[in-house]
């Protein structure tokens, strides 16, 4: 039998098993040769120009004064890059919740039966979605923020904001003495909430009583928070910016560039999220609402138990993709000079740090962000996926 198979084998240049191996070898060798040529050229060129090929530059001084940072010009590149990453994260951490809220509100408003609200939301989406994000950033920075009053005479609208073309200060939280203890307490509260959630779910599964998980959890969390707040005697408070001559104290303060990038990218990404939200709500089959009607569910119940769970499952992957885009787009802050990681990398190249290593590091940092978020998407997707045949 085996001999017959062997005799019937096609010639080796048409044997699929051989071809597969040969093709893969070809691909690998091709990629290897390309990598080798690039590496060879790189090391040769760097050596010829007397540039170091290692990452020792990380310990050299950056030579740039980073605004709004305690670092001096003599701080090392490593320290400066860490500040850059922190500044990138400052955009991401504030931006993602903001753009989610605006995106969902606008997306839902587009389906409103109120003609004006629907048209307004449509205008917002169609206007912003079709503009380059960089243009929006530059517009917000140059045509809005830089046209504000100078920092020697800032304006204070409503007494809650201090605005000048250099920096903008909004009300923020400030920690008082008891704050660390309060944090510990809230950590415990979180554990209590998880326990309560589990207990109510189990109880509901066993006895069939209504679980009211959300009510229980939020109630517990808030009451522990309020009690802690009272016992620890105001562990944190709202800090309102106040103007003393030219100096602004209190509040959450950011440079003009920070707010330009934040505002521009939030509204740009929100316009995409709004489209996704609208599409997902419309993608829920009509029969579902009709069935909910037939079951005599109220408007809120229809939304909460029928529409939203299904729409969310559709919307989540593309929305997280937009989060990823937002994170990558924060690199456009380079155009307005806000000192996040790309700007600092750019400036350090200008100060004579070796470009290949700096840019490779920059790419790896963004790749780390991207891969983390994609990992999250995959986990969430697996959790949300409806199990079908």
């Amino acid at each position: 039998m085996t001999t017959e198979v062997a005799r019937n084998r096609p010639p080796f240049w048409r044997d699929l098993r051989v071809l597969r191996i040969v093709l893969q070898l070809l691909a690998l060798v091709g990629a290897g040769v390309l990598a080798y040529v690039i590496w060879f050229n790189l090391t040769n060129n760097l050596r010829a120009q007397g540039i170091r090929t290692d990452f020792g530059f990380l310990d050299q001084p950056i030579g740039v004064q980073i605004p709004d940072s305690a670092l001096s010009r003599n701080a090392t590149v490593r320290q400066a890059f860490l500040v850059g990453i922190k500044n990138t994260l400052a955009l991401v951490v504030v931006g993602l919740p903001l753009l989610t809220i605006i995106g969902v509100v606008v997306g839902v408003a587009r389906l409103s039966t109120n003609w004006l609200a629907a048209k307004a939301a449509g205008l917002f989406v169609e206007l912003l979605r079709n503009l380059p994000p960089l243009l929006i950033i530059v517009f917000v920075f140059r045509a809005v923020i830089l046209q504000l009053p100078p920092s020697r005479a800032p304006i204070t609208p409503f007494g809650w904001l201090v605005i000048s073309n250099l920096r903008i200060t909004v009300p923020g939280f400030e920690a008082h003495d008891g704050y660390p203890a309060f944090q510990v307490l809230m950590g415990i509260a979180l554990l209590v909430v998880v326990g309560a959630w589990w207990w109510r779910t189990r109880l509901s599964d066993r006895t069939g009583v209504a679980h009211h998980r959300v009510l229980w959890s939020v109630g517990l969390f808030v009451s522990i928070g309020v009690v802690g707040f009272l016992i620890l005697d105001r562990p944190f408070g709202l800090s309102r910016p106040s103007l003393d001559g030219r100096i602004v104290t209190g509040g959450f303060s950011g440079l003009g560039g920070y707010f330009a990038v934040l505002i521009a990218l939030v509204i740009y990404t929100a316009s995409h999220v709004a489209e996704i939200v609208r599409g997902s709500l419309q993608a829920v089959p009509k029969g579902q609402t009709e069935a909910a009607h037939a079951l005599a569910l109220s408007g809120f119940q229809r939304l909460r138990f029928v529409m939203l769970p299904q729409a969310m499952r559709i919307a989540l992957p593309p929305v997280i993709n937009q989060y990823l885009n937002f994170t990558k787009n924060t690199s456009l802050a380079l155009a307005v000079g806000y000192a996040e990681i790309t700007t600092l990398a750019f400036q350090s190249i200008g100060n004579g740090q070796p470009a290949p290593q700096v840019i490779a590091m920059l790419m790896l940092i963004y790749l780390f962000f991207s891969l983390t978020i994609s990992l999250l998407v995959n986990l969430v997707n697996r959790r949300l996926q409806v199990v079908t045949r």
């Binding site: 691909a27 690998l28 050229n41 609208r278 609402t289 155009a335």
Partner: protein, 414 residues
């Protein structure tokens, strides 16, 4: 936003009514919260609208008038402006020819299949392309001489002649109209650069944005196709390499690739090879765009039903010929709308080449504010919206056309 009714039956559709008063009551003042939203938004809108109109009426457009050529063509030599004009006329003629031939072709198919065919009327075309019409009117209103208007009128006339001629081309020669469209880029380039013209190293303004977009997509497409096939391949090594490339490029922002192209690509090339900035930018954009195009093509490949391949195998076709004759034609047809989307997003991304020092539209819009006559007057409020108008018109029109095409091709309806 508590007032929103999420029934898909009503979704996005407004209740028609017999009289205007009833329409207003139903769609604007149905309940008390509807009314408050309407009044709140209405006041806000009116205020913003009045502000914008007042600004537009009182603004001094000198900065745009004087720099219009800079916005459109960068520092293209002013005594060579007949070259872009001639290129525009050629594009108009070739587009008209192709459109005419397409209409004729559709008519014939409609005649054969017995389906009625309605040719588009002028009013429909204007309604479809109103943003483009608006942009052209704005641009012409900003010109200081009559020549550009004459050129536009000439281009329109040539386009119409092209349509007229295209409809009359015999079916046998219709391929020539497509061929004209294919050689058009080369002809246009020759028109701009040949015989003492300016090659792409000296281009700027909108011209550069369009060039980078078109060249980027054309250069990236073959690479993207190979990567998509590699990703779908059953060979583990090929698949891993493709996936690694695609995921790496999609995980980093375009700006880092551009920085790599401008500052570091010289290190990766043999000593002595020193490409110009435009070349470096094109390399970076090709690398970037190919990964995205690969994903678009992969989507198309997945849309081809498995039965098609199995049927082809049953007919004894070779893998290569299955790919070429069965899979790719269907897959690529399904990718057209997504490719337009990719084209739009690259068009928007070309603003980034300004960051690495090329004179594209956005950087022109910023730089004209440093001219002695216009410095520090806050005229960014005029120049940046002007640049925004150009990008908005381009990408809004293209995205609407892509959606139309999607419906027409019936992508995703299976």
């Amino acid at each position: 936003m508590t007032s929103v009714d999420l029934e898909p039956t009503d979704a996005g559709r407004h209740i028609p009514a017999k009289s205007p008063a009833r329409w207003v009551r139903r769609n604007l003042f149905r309940t008390w919260y509807d009314s408050s939203i309407t009044i709140g938004f209405g006041v806000l809108f009116a205020w913003v609208l009045v502000g914008i109109v007042r600004f537009l009426l009182t603004a001094d457009y000198t900065i745009l008038r004087r720099n219009l050529a800079l916005f459109m063509l960068g520092s293209f030599p002013r005594d060579q402006l007949h070259r872009p004009a001639a290129a525009l006329l050629m594009i108009a003629l070739a587009t008209g020819l192709a459109a005419g031939a397409l209409t004729a072709h559709r008519r014939e198919i409609a005649a054969v299949t017995g389906v009625g065919y309605q040719s588009s009327r002028v009013i429909d075309v204007v309604r479809r392309f109103w943003p483009v019409v608006l942009l052209v009117v704005v641009l012409l209103a900003l010109t200081e001489t009559i020549t550009p208007s004459l050129i536009v009128v000439g281009a329109l006339g040539l386009g119409l002649i092209g349509v007229w001629a295209g409809r009359r081309i015999r079916a046998r020669f219709r391929r020539l109209a497509w061929a004209a469209l294919l050689v058009l880029p080369f002809l246009v380039y020759f028109m701009l650069a040949g015989f003492g013209g300016v090659g792409w190293r000296g281009w700027g303004g909108l011209h550069l944005n369009l060039f980078v977009t078109v060249a980027g997509v054309l250069l990236a497409f073959p690479l993207g196709l190979v990567l998509a096939l590699g990703r779908k391949s059953s060979l583990p090594a090929v698949r891993t390499l493709s996936v690694a490339y695609i995921e790496f490029v999609r995980g980093v922002p375009l700006i880092t690739l551009l920085l790599m192209g401008v500052f570091a690509i010289g290190f990766f090339l043999p000593a002595g090879v020193r490409p110009g900035t435009v070349t470096r930018v094109l390399i970076a954009i090709t690398v970037f765009e190919s990964a995205y195009i690969a994903e678009v093509v992969r989507g198309g490949l997945q849309a081809v039903p498995k039965g098609q391949v199995e049927a082809a195998q049953a007919l004894g076709m070779t893998p290569w010929s299955i790919m070429r004759r069965i899979v790719l034609p269907q897959a690529l047809r399904a990718t057209i709308p997504a490719m337009v989307g990719q084209f739009i997003s690259l068009f928007k991304d070309t603003t980034l080449v300004g960051v690495v020092g090329l004179p594209e539209v956005l950087s022109v819009a910023q730089d004209v504010n440093t001219q002695p006559d216009f410095v520090a007057q806050g005229l960014e409020r005029l120049t940046l919206p002007f640049a925004a108008l150009i990008f908005w018109v381009g990408s809004y029109t293209m995205s609407r056309e892509a959606r139309r095409l999607e419906r027409k091709l019936g992508v995703g309806e299976r």
